[in-house]
């Protein structure tokens, strides 16, 4: 099944790193996924987050407030 991944963050360095890590993890795993980057704060608040960046997989918050590294994302996506 195609994974749905969302990265929430207003565009700071940490959020960009998370986003790039996600892309890299997907490439390394060779899977298909929808990756969305949500930078608009009003949109972000619908997900009730407190700290950014946030990484969501299939609409479940997996990581918040810190950068997830590539290996961690790979584990999250294969779980």
């Amino acid at each position: 099944m195609k994974k749905n991944i969302k990265v929430l963050g207003p565009g700071c360095a940490k959020c960009k790193t998370t986003y790039n890590n996600v892309l890299e993890a997907i490439k390394q795993l060779g899977i298909e996924a929808d990756v969305t980057k949500i930078e608009d704060i009003e949109e972000m608040m619908k997900y009730n987050v407190l700290t950014t960046p946030v990484l969501m997989v299939d609409d479940v918050i997996k990581v918040k407030g810190r950068v997830a590294d590539i290996n961690e994302i790979k584990t999250l996506l294969t779980a």
Binding site: P10, K14, I41, E42, M45, V49, L50, T51, R66
Partner: protein, 325 residues
Amino acid sequence: MFDWLQHIVDWLIYSVFGLTHGSKIGDAVNFFVFDTIKIFILLGFITILMGIINSYFPIDKVRNFLTKRKWYGLDYFLASFFGTITPFCSCSSVPLFIGFVKGGIPLGVTLAFLISSPLVDAVSVAMFLGMFGWKVTIVYVVSGIVLSMISGYILGKLKLEHLLTDWVKKILENKQIANENYEEEKQTFMQRLPDIGKEALGIVKGVSIYILIGIAIGGLMHGFIPTGFFEQYITKENPFAVPIATLVGVPMYSNAAGVLPIMQVLVQKGIPIGTAIAFMMAVVGLSIPEGLLLKKVMSTKMLLIFYGVVTGCIIISGYLFNLIL
């Protein structure tokens, strides 16, 4: 506490590398090596310690804690206190702000948290300990918390809710009690430790470049500027030094890691410590980039009042520091 390290560094610099003891270059290199190692030891230690506390009191828990009951003013203290142990990057300030007020936490309490979080954190505590000793560190931490409480309290009393931006007001109108489905992590201490270590390592890595640059500049100044050099320009008796230092610091954006090594040298060379701390608080606590982010939730008028109140409190604490330290 770090005498043993100074001996090793002395031996390394003067005996192994053969630099002359007392020469400008020798002093500068010695200062750089000793300070770098000392700061990184302290930094590793304190980020892990704060990481452990934070793992048991994550931000979501703090919010639920503050919303669950009425605190009758104690919430200003709690918010300021939890702000110090919660690491957060300035780009989280808006989601945090909304999340707090949406959950029913008063505006002043939310602002107290926002002020204290960047002001006192693991990095600044570690660096203060390394550079000024435990007495100055305790005074700094306590006054950071008190300053946040007082600023938050004043801002709360000013009733600024009508100055929030429209979309925030809309959120507040149909605020629902934040869903309390926060899941307590059931991990044991040993299971948490790897994550805490990883997190601490990330923080240390993130600030290490600033520390190195800061200490390098500090080392150069240490070796080449004569002791007491600044005393002829800035003295405790000059009543304008504190406000000027604060106002210069407000627009600047840096973290404690970059500012403190330079500050240490400035103090050694004769700048009063209260003036230096006021400058540092202004640099790490308030900045133009943070202000631009907060414009999303505050009108310009509210932002100016917010910055004005905090700046005022920093100036007052600068005078107090000069009196007691």
